[in-house]
């Protein structure tokens, strides 16, 4: 059995079922992200693990122990909140020491542990500061140290980076990941930011309307999305409507261009419509390319976005965006040009809902 096991978890608020039969095992030392839009139930699951919400059904076990009759303050869990939630009347050292004092540790041990934690987050020099005297990034690091100080079994992070500036967000997420790996602590991270989840996690749970649409490594989630929702929520995606010509040979047409897919089409009939997904970064312009790994179309817009140039072309009824890295020598395609986009066979995914 996994270290942290969620079995048939359900949660309703009045008539609204926020979490629907959720099952998952998280291994010791694993970093798992819950990714999804607001209202998908990701935060509710985190709060049930912490004990702030009681599941309407199902069980939560940590290290083989059911958490059912344990109050939040008996669960030995560390939590970091979006709003930092440092105690405003205590300085940094007192904040970090809070959990240890509650646990009744001897003073010498507390002092040593606080020192160790402040070293870990590299804020030794700010031990006497009060929360209001620090930046958001520093406060959140203190909150992390406070949560880790009592050596919790599980670390829960509830959108800890959402309130921070873009640049600090990136550096702090790397720092969190480093500390997590260093301590080997089992961590559950909730976020609505796909890049954050992709860059930091061992595994990602993509939540949609109370269910897990897909559980997998960042690479799997991004490159082999199992549902249309996952494909569109994680990254930008072209959804292309194609017509089946011959299910036996996997032949389809997009507009008037025929393509033979590598992946089997499955149970469809000639004339059916199937949805194909193509990432904007998957293709590149190659004049004269033909066959099953190329599509031609007229350029309808070309936008300079800084590091990439995003071009849109019309193929049949579908609009396909593709990105090119900007470089000083690059001449972006002009509106009205007919260009050919080449990709590899495995780039074109069939989306099967």
């Amino acid at each position: 059995m996994s270290f942290l096991t969620l079995t048939s978890i359900q949660k309703s608020f009045g008539p609204v079922q926020v979490v629907k039969d959720f099952n998952m095992g998280i291994e010791k030392g694993e970093f798992v992200s819950f990714l999804g839009p607001s209202g998908c139930g990701k935060t509710t699951i985190l709060r049930m693990i912490a004990g702030f919400e009681t599941p309407s059904g199902g069980t939560i076990q940590i290290g083989g122990t059911s958490q059912e009759n344990l109050k939040p303050n008996q669960r030995n869990i560390g939590m970091v909140f979006q709003a930092y939630a440092l105690f405003p009347n205590m300085n940094v050292a007192d904040n970090v020491a809070f959990g240890l004092k509650i646990a009744g540790k001897p003073k010498a041990e507390i002092d040593a542990r606080v020192k160790e934690m402040l070293g870990l987050i590299k804020l030794d020099h700010l031990a006497e500061r009060y929360p209001y005297q620090m930046s958001g990034g520093q406060q959140q690091r203190v909150a992390l140290a406070r949560a880790l100080a009592p050596k919790p079994q599980v670390l829960l992070l509830d959108e800890p980076l959402s309130a921070l500036d873009a640049k600090i967000r990136v550096s702090l997420r790397e720092e969190i990941r480093m500390i997590q790996q260093q301590l080997g602590i089992t961590t559950v991270f909730v976020t609505h930011d796909q890049e954050e989840a992709l860059s930091i996690s061992d595994r990602i749970v993509v939540m949609n309307a109370g269910r897990a649409d897909q559980i997998g490594t960042p690479y799997e989630i991004y490159n082999r999305p199992s549902t249309r929702f996952v494909a569109s929520f994680v990254g930008t995606l072209n959804l292309i409507e194609a017509k089946v010509v011959d299910p036996a040979t996997n032949r389809i047409t997009i507009g008037d261009q025929g393509i033979t897919l590598r992946e089997p089409l499955g149970a469809v009939r000639a004339g059916d419509t199937v949805s194909l997904a193509l990432r904007p970064e998957a293709g590149s312009i190659a004049e004269g390319a033909k066959g099953d790994t190329a599509l031609s179309g007229e350029v309808i817009s070309s936008n300079f976005l800084g590091s990439v140039i995003r071009t849109r072309m019309k193929v049949g009824e579908s609009v396909i965006s593709f990105d090119m890295f900007n470089s000083p020598g690059l001449v972006p395609p002009a509106v009205g040009d007919v260009v050919t986009l080449r990709f590899t066979a495995s780039d074109l995914l069939i989306i099967r809902e």
Binding site: A50, G51, F52, K71, P72, N73, Q74, R75, N76, I77, G78, M79, F81, A83, A85, L86, F87, P88, N89, M90, N91, F98, G99, I102, A103, Y130, P131, Y132, Q133, A143, R146, A147, P150, L156
Partner: protein, 263 residues
């Protein structure tokens, strides 16, 4: 911005200031005129020498302190609990605390007299101590809106729910949360409510008069009816006390802004 609009704005502000300070100025000036032809503090000397002044003022101060204690005991846990667990109840509780503003004090007193008269199940008006208790509870009702609002405002400046959960996740129970996390962060708000309560009780007239207790408000009115200069001196003193309380509130709230708990 039109110059007229600007002038209108300033005029309104100045009018507001005059509205308060001209009567007070007149009051103060007249209170110094007890000795013919020169300004003197004679009226003040006479007031302070009056044993009734000392008695009634002392009585009102004690009643104010009792009222503050009752108010804190009722308001702080209620406000915390409502914010934390019953946010849906907030409009109702706010509505409740607003009621004393609009239920005339007279109605409250008559209700008390009726309920606790000498022939009732709890004959509070039959004894001095009982009537004092009634008066303290009446004052508490009068002060409730201010106390509740002050404490609730204090709670608003901290994130009650998240701080409570953070403390819980670190192993703290309710006693620790209230004592070590919540209370230290709302002390300025509690003090501010306490000072307002103090000022209200010191100046209150109707309740004390109708329950016939020797409080400062009725004394003020009695002196006003019978003496020439002393009432004005007394008014100035009453004003100075309330002003002092207000200044203390300002100080406390300013202190709380620079102190760590603001964050």
């Amino acid at each position: 911005m039109s110059i007229w609009a600007r002038i209108a704005g300033w005029a309104a502000l100045i009018f507001g200031l005059l509205y308060f300070f001209v009567p007070l100025g007149g009051l103060f000036e007249f209170s110094l005129k007890a000795r013919r032809g020169v300004y003197s503090l004679d009226a003040y000397a006479s007031v302070f020498a009056d044993p009734q002044f000392q008695q009634t003022f002392g009585y009102s101060v004690i009643m104010a302190l009792v009222t503050i204690v009752i108010g804190i005991l009722i308001v702080v846990p209620t406000a915390y609990w409502v914010r934390l667990k019953m946010p849906w109840a907030r409009p109702y509780v706010e509505f409740l605390t607003l009621m004393p503003l609009v239920i005339p004090a007279i109605v409250i007193v008559f209700g008390y007299i009726r309920l606790y008269n000498t022939s009732s199940w709890l004959p509070l008006t039959g004894s001095v101590m009982g009537t004092n208790i009634l008066l303290a509870f009446g004052y508490t009702i009068l002060a409730l809106p201010y106390m509740y609002r002050a404490v609730d405002t204090g709670l608003r400046t901290i994130d009650v729910a998240t701080l409570t959960e953070a403390a819980q996740s670190l192993g703290a129970g309710w006693a620790t949360i209230l004592g070590r996390v919540i209370l230290p962060n709302v002390i300025p708000a509690v003090l501010s409510g306490a000072f307002l309560t103090f000022a209200i009780v010191i100046g209150e007239f109707t309740l004390a008069a109708l329950l016939d207790r020797p409080a400062f408000g009725p004394y003020l009115q009695r002196v006003g009816a019978n003496k020439a200069y002393e009432p004005f001196a007394l008014s100035v003193i009453a004003f100075a006390i309330t002003w002092g309380c207000l200044a203390l509130i300002q100080l406390v709230s300013r202190f709380s802004k620079t102190a760590p708990r603001k964050a």
